[in-house]
C-alpha cells in the first residue's frame, strides 16, 4: 500500500487531476465501447424479431386471402 489515507490516494501527490482524468477517460471510453457492442447485439435481435413477425403477418394475410 503506497498511500496513508484515502484522501492521499485521491490526491496522488498533487497529480490527482491528471491521473483521474486519464483513468476516467479510459474507463468512460471502454465502458462506452462495451455498452455499444452489447447494444448492437440487442438492436440486431429486435430488428430480426420484427422482420420475422412481419413476414409471419404477411404470410397470414396471404393465406387468409386465398381462402
Amino acid at each position: 500500500m503506497q498511500f496513508d489515507s484515502f484522501s492521499d490516494f485521491l490526491a496522488m501527490g498533487g497529480y490527482g487531476f491528471y491521473i483521474w482524468l486519464a483513468y476516467g477517460l479510459t474507463y468512460g471510453l471502454l465502458i462506452g465501447l462495451v455498452v455499444y457492442c452489447f447494444w448492437e447485439v440487442k438492436a440486431f435481435h429486435q430488428n430480426f424479431r420484427q422482420k420475422l413477425a412481419r413476414a409471419q403477418r404477411i404470410k397470414q394475410y396471404q393465406e387468409a386471402e386465398h381462402r
Binding site: 490516494f9 497529480y15 491528471y18 486519464a22 477517460l25
Partner: protein, 245 residues
C-alpha cells in the same frame, strides 16, 4: 493448425465458437484489468522522477500497444479476406476497426493527460504522438470507407484493401515523422529513458496489458458474432439458433 482453423471459416461454426469463448474472455478481461489497474494505482511504487503520474502508464502503454497490434490483426484479416476471399475475415475487419480506433483514442488521451504535468503541454508534436494520431485517421478511414458504400460486399472489400495499404504505410509514416521530429526540435523533453522497468512496476503493467488484450479479444468476438448474424440473417441456421418461428 490449418485443419483446426479451416472449419472456423464457416460462419455458423465461428458464431458458436465465439459464443463459447466470449463469456470467459469477457469475465477474465474485467477481472484481470481491474486487478492490474488497482495494483498499479494503489500498490505499485511511484517513480522517483515522475512521482505519481507514472500510474498513468498502466493504461497508456497497454492501450498504445493494443492500438498497433489490433491494427496488425485487422490487416492480417484484411489480407486473408482479399487473397483467399474468406467472408468471415472480411467481416472481422469491420468488427475490429472501431475497437482499435477506441484503443488508439485512449492512448492519445491518456498520453495528453500524462504530458500536461510532465512536459507542461497537453500536446507535443512528438513522433510517437503524431504517428499515433495518423493511426487513428487510418482506423477512421477504414470505418468511413466501409460506411460510404451502399453495397456492403464492395465496402468490405475496399475497406480491407485500405487496411492492407495502411500497414505498408505505417512504417514509412512512422520513420518519416520520427526523422521530421528529430530535425525540428531535437529529442529533449520527450525522451525519458527507462532502460529497465522495476519489477514492482512491471508486473502490474504486464497484468494490465493482458487485461486489455483479453478485453479486445472479447469485444472482437462479440462484434464478429453480431456481424455474422447481420450478414447471414436470411440463412436457415440463424433462424434455427435464434429460436425463430
Amino acid at each position: 493448425m490449418f485443419k483446426w482453423l479451416h472449419p472456423l471459416a464457416k460462419p455458423e461454426t465461428l458464431y458458436h465458437f465465439c459464443g463459447r469463448l466470449f463469456p470467459w474472455l469477457m469475465l477474465s478481461a474485467i477481472g484481470i484489468l481491474l486487478f492490474g489497474n488497482l495494483w498499479g494505482l494503489v500498490f505499485a511504487p511511484q517513480d522517483y522522477q515522475q512521482f505519481d503520474t507514472v500510474r498513468i502508464i498502466y493504461i497508456h502503454v497497454p492501450s498504445a500497444l493494443l492500438s498497433m497490434s489490433t491494427y496488425t490483426m485487422m490487416a492480417i484479416a484484411a489480407f486473408i479476406a482479399l487473397v483467399w476471399q474468406v467472408k468471415v475475415a472480411q467481416w472481422s475487419v469491420l468488427a475490429i476497426a472501431p475497437i482499435g480506433a477506441v484503443f488508439t483514442a485512449i492512448s492519445l488521451l491518456t498520453g495528453m493527460a500524462w504530458g500536461k504535468p510532465m512536459w507542461g503541454t497537453w500536446w507535443e508534436w512528438d513522433a510517437r504522438l503524431t504517428s499515433q494520431l495518423i493511426l487513428l485517421f487510418l482506423y477512421l478511414g477504414v470505418i468511413a470507407l466501409y460506411g460510404a458504400f451502399s453495397d456492403r460486399q464492395t465496402g468490405g472489400k475496399v475497406a480491407s484493401l485500405l487496411a492492407v495499404i495502411g500497414i505498408v504505410n505505417i512504417p514509412i509514416i512512422h520513420f518519416s515523422v520520427e526523422w521530421w521530429n528529430t530535425l525540428h526540435q531535437g529529442a529533449s523533453i520527450t525522451k525519458f529513458d527507462t532502460p529497465s522497468v522495476h519489477p514492482s512496476m512491471l508486473w502490474p503493467l504486464l497484468i494490465s496489458l493482458l487485461g486489455f488484450y483479453l478485453l479486445m479479444l472479447a469485444l472482437v468476438c462479440l462484434r464478429l458474432r453480431t456481424a455474422i448474424l447481420e450478414h447471414e440473417q436470411h440463412r436457415p441456421w440463424v433462424r434455427a439458433t435464434l429460436g425463430g418461428h
